[in-house]
Every structure is written in C-alpha cells, then in structure tokens.
C-alpha cells in the first residue's frame, strides 16, 4: 500500500486514496463500534450498557480523513513527504570521539550532581544509575557475546534476595553481602548457562525468559523462606565505614558534626551506585581488550569459526553469563538496600524488557549508548509521571522513532580493540544488525 502508487496517474491516485480511506473507515467502525460505542457502567442492580455513538462517529471520521490525507500527501503522492526524512536515516557517524569527550563529561556531571540539585533529582539519578549498571551487565551477554537473554531480571532478583535473606536470617551487613550477592548471581548465571550452551537466537531467548519466570515464581511460592508475595521488609541500610545514617550519637551526622538530615543517606546511596556503576564500566572496558572479551565478540560473530580457532566456546559462554549475572546481582543487592523492602513484584518480565530495551536502544555493545538510553528511558519516564498513561504512548512512539532513524541503536559505531596507527571507528552503515 505504501509508496507503490507513485506510478499511478493523478486522477487514479485520488480515487485509490479515497477507496483506501473508505476501507480504513470501515475497519475503524468495526473496531470502534463495540469498543468505544458500548460502555459498561455500574448501575443499581448490576451493569448496564451506555451507548456512545457520537464518539464512534468521531473516531471513524478521524480515521477516514486522516487516512485520506495521508494517502494523498504521503503514501500515494509522487513526492512522498517521507523523502524529507531520508537525510535523517543513519546519519554517517561523525560522532567518532563521542566516547572520549562525552564519557568524562558525564562522569563529572554525575559526581557533581548532588551539589547542585535537590533530593528528587538525586533519587532519580540513583534509579537511572541502577539501570545503567544493569544495562552494562546485560550488554556483556547480549551486546558482546550475542546471547539474547530475556530473563536478566532473574539475576537482579537473586542479588536482591541474597542480600535481603542474608541480612534477615544472619544479620549480615550490606558490604559483606555485596560480593556474596554477586557470587550467587554469577553461580545462577552458570546454572542457566549450562543447559543453554547449545542454543542460540530464538530458542535461547525462550529458555532465558522461562528462567526469569522460574526464579520469580519460586520467590513467590516459597513463602516460608522468602516471605512469598509479602516480600521482605526492614532490609538494613548500608553504613558509611561503620557509621549509620541515623539521628543522635554515633550516627554519620553526629560523627562529622553535621546537622542530621535524611538527605545524607540519599546522597550516600547515590555515590555508592555511582561508584559501583563506574567500576562495572571500567571492568567491561578492560575485559573488551582482554582475550576473553575478544572471544565474546568473536562468538557473537561466528561460533564455528571460533571453535576452529581453538577457542573454548563452552567456557567463553559461561563466563559471559556468569559475569553478566554478577553485575546484575550487585545491582540487585543495591536495589534491596536502597528500597529497604523487596517483593517478587519488582522482578517481573517488564524489568527484563526495559533493561534489554536500554541495551538495544543504546546500541549493542556500546557503553555510552547504554548511559544515554537509560537516562532517556528511565529519566524520561519519571519526568513525565504526571502524564499518567500517555507517557507509555510517548515512550512507545519514541522507541519506534529511534529504531527507524537509528536501527542499530543510538551509538552504533564500534571501536576495534586494537590499532596499529590511529584509532578508527567502524561506521554504523558497516555494522550489520545483530543476529539474536
């Protein structure tokens, strides 16, 4: 239907447009009739149906006129309006040094953020940084090793519950539990990794999706141990080298001679996650230059070639799963200590989808892309909170637009890990789309 009509003569074009618009209007009537025309309202003695035909008429009219205009001016015209967007498509990446300058600039902004903004922004920053860290963790599995993982939230949950349960049953502190949470998550990453070693693409995605659900359902139903749907509350907050953020003697404020303020803890948590995220970033950047990182990327490119070069694909995949899961576990432990309360509700599939969307929108394998995508998605989502459901609409539209204009993610250039002379990035147009 689209663009095919450019060869039609002008008269035939209008007639075809009109016919198409009529069909669209009929479809709109069929859909809007029952869905918009009839509304159930609670009435005395049960439900009753209210008819709203003017609304249906309006909807059909909008569809008809809109379709007709679009047909005439966009789809079936000899000079399509979409031609204007051609220039926007895959703008050749001049942003070669984006990482070099933008990265440090963002770090400086992130470090100084609490000094010039209020509690709300710092809180939001903490949330965004949590997702950045999750995005980086997942980018090991999806972006570098090319293993599509739809159940990443499972490791986030393992991390969160590890800390919550250790604190609940043994009274361990956050700083002891943080590495434990990472190790346990990495362990579960390997547990997931083993059965899926031979799977790729769609099949792998389905199994990881199931894994994510299994973890959630176990947490939900093992009520004696995990608290079930009630979750775990009263999770201890982290201390600052043994100083707790509490009122009165022995607290953080008292020790440093400050007036007590609940903002201290918020800012402290912000710096904790900032440090954790930066550490994650540094580790991943380093890993990419190590043999294991290159093996991940080679594995994403061609598994058979990898084997024929003597690369142990089993251990390569397992390290990708384990390390990706470990960072998810760290982020989970942080999430638990920040919230003070966790329940299986926080670890639904939607979370996996959001994290995956951050990685994909940011550009598979791009570190800075994840930062931008997480800031836009999580930050933007919070900023437009007043818009209620409409933000979902805007959000969806934004994602579609990004995927049209930058089909390989916001930052789609890939900097090779070795050079003989000058650094060169590989342009987006040369990078094919990911293969699951």
């Amino acid at each position: 239907m689209i663009v095919t009509a450019t060869a039609l003569p002008a008269g035939g074009r209008v007639a075809a447009s009109f016919k198409d618009a009529v069909i669209a209007a009929v479809v709109a009537l069929a859909i809007a009739g029952p869905m918009m025309g009839l509304q159930t309202v609670t009435d005395i003695g049960g439900l009753s149906i209210v008819q709203r035909w003017p609304l249906v008429f309006a909807a059909v009219a909008v569809v008809f006129v809109g379709r007709l205009l679009l047909n005439i001016f966009v789809w079936k015209t000899s000079t399509p309006v979409t031609g204007l967007f051609k220039g926007l498509k895959l703008a050749p990446s001049k942003s070669l040094n984006l990482g070099r300058y933008l990265g440090p600039a963002l770090i400086v902004i992130a470090v100084l953020l609490p000094t010039f903004s209020g509690r709300y922004v710092v809180d939001l920053g903490t949330l965004v940084l949590t997702y950045i860290m999750l995005g980086w963790g997942l980018s090991i599995v999806v972006g570098l090793a090319g293993l599509l993982d739809l159940g990443y939230v499972a490791f986030y949950a393992v991390g969160a519950y590890s800390y919550a349960l250790f604190a609940h049953y043994f009274g361990f502190s956050f700083w002891i539990c943080l590495p434990l949470a990472g190790i346990l998550a990495a362990f579960w990453g390997i547990v997931l990794g083993f059965p899926v070693l031979r799977l790729r693409g769609d099949y792998l995605a389905i199994v990881t999706l199931a894994f994510g659900e299994i973890i959630r359902v176990v947490l939900l139903n093992w009520a004696d141990f995990t608290g079930g749907p009630n979750g775990i509350s009263g999770i201890p907050r982290p201390s600052f080298f043994g100083l707790e953020f509490k009122r009165g003697a022995g607290g953080f404020a008292d020790f440093f001679g400050l007036d007590f303020s609940s903002d201290h803890r918020v800012i402290f948590l912000y710096y904790v996650i900032l440090a954790m995220a930066l550490l994650t970033c540094a580790i991943i950047m380093r890993l990419r230059r190590l043999p294991v990182g290159r093996a991940w990327e080679a594995l994403r490119e061609d598994e058979i070639a990898c084997r024929s070069l003597g690369i142990n694909t089993v251990s390569t995949k397992l390290t990708a799963f384990a390390l990706g899961a470990m960072f998810g576990g760290f982020a989970g432990a942080f999430f638990a200590t920040r919230q003070g309360f966790i329940s299986p509700e926080s670890f639904v599939f939607m979370e996996s989808a959001i994290i995956l969307a951050i990685v994909v929108l940011g550009g598979l394998g791009s570190q800075i892309g994840v930062v931008i995508a997480a800031t836009v998605m999580i930050g933007g989502f919070e900023v437009f909170r007043e818009m209620a459901e409409y933000r979902m609409l805007v959000f969806g539209l934004a994602m579609v637009l990004i995927m049209i204009w930058r089909p390989r993610g916001l930052i789609s250039t890939r900097t090779p890990s070795i050079f003989l002379k000058a650094r060169k990035t590989i342009g987006a147009e040369n990078i094919s789309q990911g293969h699951g």
């Binding site: 043999p291 290159r294 093996a295 990327e297 080679a298 994403r300 490119e301 061609d302 058979i304 070639a305 990898c306 084997r307 024929s308 070069l309 003597g310 690369i311 142990n312 694909t313 890939r414 090779p416 890990s417 070795i418 050079f419 003989l420 060169k424 590989i426 040369n430 990078i431 094919s432």
Partner: protein, 243 residues
C-alpha cells in the same frame, strides 16, 4: 613420500549425521611437509572429513592420530591448539570485527608474544591485508576474505594447515594467487597442508598427493601428477573444465 609416521593419520573413520552415514570408513595419511588434496564432487564428504578431523562432528568409529596422539575424541578447541589450523568452508571471518582483530583472534591459542612479527609476516604474504587492516572484515571482497581466513589460520603458527575449499566463488586469478602462497609456504617453511577442493585441476597441480572421494569413500589415491593423468579423474572432474 616418506616412510616415517604420518603427521596426520585417519584410519577407518565413519561419521554420521544422525542416522545418515557421511563417511563410510575413510583412510587418509598426511605426512610432514606434504601438500595433500582431497577432491570430489559436492556431497562426497570432503568437508565432513575435514570437520571430523577437527572433532565436530565426531567420528563414530575409526581413529584419527595427529603427531602420534589420538585426537579422535578430543574436544575441538583442544585439537585446534595442537598446532593444527583450519580455514573453514565459506571462510567464516568475523564480519563486524576489523581485519586486525580477525588476525588477533587467530593468535588466540598461542598468546601474543610474537604477535607483531607474525602480523608483519601475514602482511608480506597478503599485502592487501595491510591496506585493509582497520577495515571491517565483512566489507572485504571474497578474495580478500579468503586471504584473511588463511592468514588468520596461519597466525597460530600451525604445523598442519587445513584449507576447506579456498577457491570457492573466487576469480581464477585470485585462486592462482592464493595457491601460489600456499605452495610457497610449503616450500620455504615446510608447512604441511591438507587441502579440500572441488577445483580438481588446480588442487592436483599444487598437491604432492591426492585422494579422490566419492560418496563418503576414498576411491583413488596417488601423486598429484598420477591423478591428473588418470582417465577416471579426467572424465569425472576435469573434462569440460580447464582441460
């Protein structure tokens, strides 16, 4: 060629894909310093033989020994670390990684102490790769990709180089160039080469010895010259071709 133990020896190997038999008991010897070619039509089992030597798929019966060690049941990555290198069918370079990174992957098993020297050696063998070094592998032409695949295999300093259809889809001139490099490596460095080819004329001219494979069985063997002159080989693989 020599009376010594062969470097690679395949004895009575049978390989199956599920229930379908692909190799029906194959015997092949490759001696140190030789170029051995295995020719045959599509589906004869040439590539299966090469993959079986690499342990994927595995031989169901028979033994494969390399350098006196039984490698029949070793995992692929361990076989590939025993100074065997393979340039797989269809080249299989890493399309989104740069030429340099591709070469770097080739050296993954031996470490990077001599990486720079090896890299220069490859650039001398295939000068075009020097020009293309920071280009993405997938943007190279077919011939350049084949050169990259061979160079990548050579980066691990192999004793035995296994080439699976290096001439596939390449212009005759490029094929000639690649075969010349292989012959040169064999002559100057004593590299042992096992070459699987459909391009029988070129392969037999290059090779010291050759095997003809039909339907999962070796039907003929002999020196390259003998096979080139043999009536059956000419009838089956050379008529209508170059000769």
């Amino acid at each position: 060629m020599s009376t010594k133990e062969p470097l690679l020896s395949v004895r009575g190997v049978q390989t199956y894909y599920g229930k379908i038999i692909a190799l029906k008991g194959v015997d092949v010897d490759v001696h140190q310093g030789e170029i051995v070619t295995i020719i045959g039509a599509n589906g004869a089992g040439k590539s299966t033989l090469m993959m079986t030597i690499c342990g994927n798929p595995r031989a169901r019966t028979g033994t494969i020994t390399y350098n006196g060690i039984d490698i029949t049941n070793m995992p692929t990555f361990e076989i590939m670390r025993m100074s065997i290198a393979q340039s797989p069918e269809g080249r299989r370079i890493f399309p989104r990684m740069s030429v340099l990174e591709n070469l770097q992957m080739g050296a993954a098993t031996i470490g990077y102490e001599n990486f720079d020297a090896d890299l220069q050696r490859m650039f001398e063998l295939f000068p075009i790769l020097r020009k293309r070094q920071s280009q993405r592998g997938g943007t190279l032409s077919g011939g350049e990709q084949q050169m990259l695949a061979i160079a990548r295999a050579l980066m691990s300093r192999p004793k035995l180089l296994m080439l699976d259809e290096p001439s596939l889809g390449l212009a005759p001139l490029i094929v000639k160039q690649i075969f010349e490099v292989v012959a040169d490596l064999n002559k100057t460095q004593g590299l042992t080469v096992c070459l699987v080819e459909q391009n029988a004329y070129h392969a037999l001219k290059l090779a010291h010895r050759g095997y003809v494979m039909v339907n999962g069985l070796i039907t003929m063997s002999g020196t390259g010259k003998e096979l080139l002159e043999s009536e059956e080989v000419r009838a089956a693989y050379l008529e209508g071709g170059k000769h």
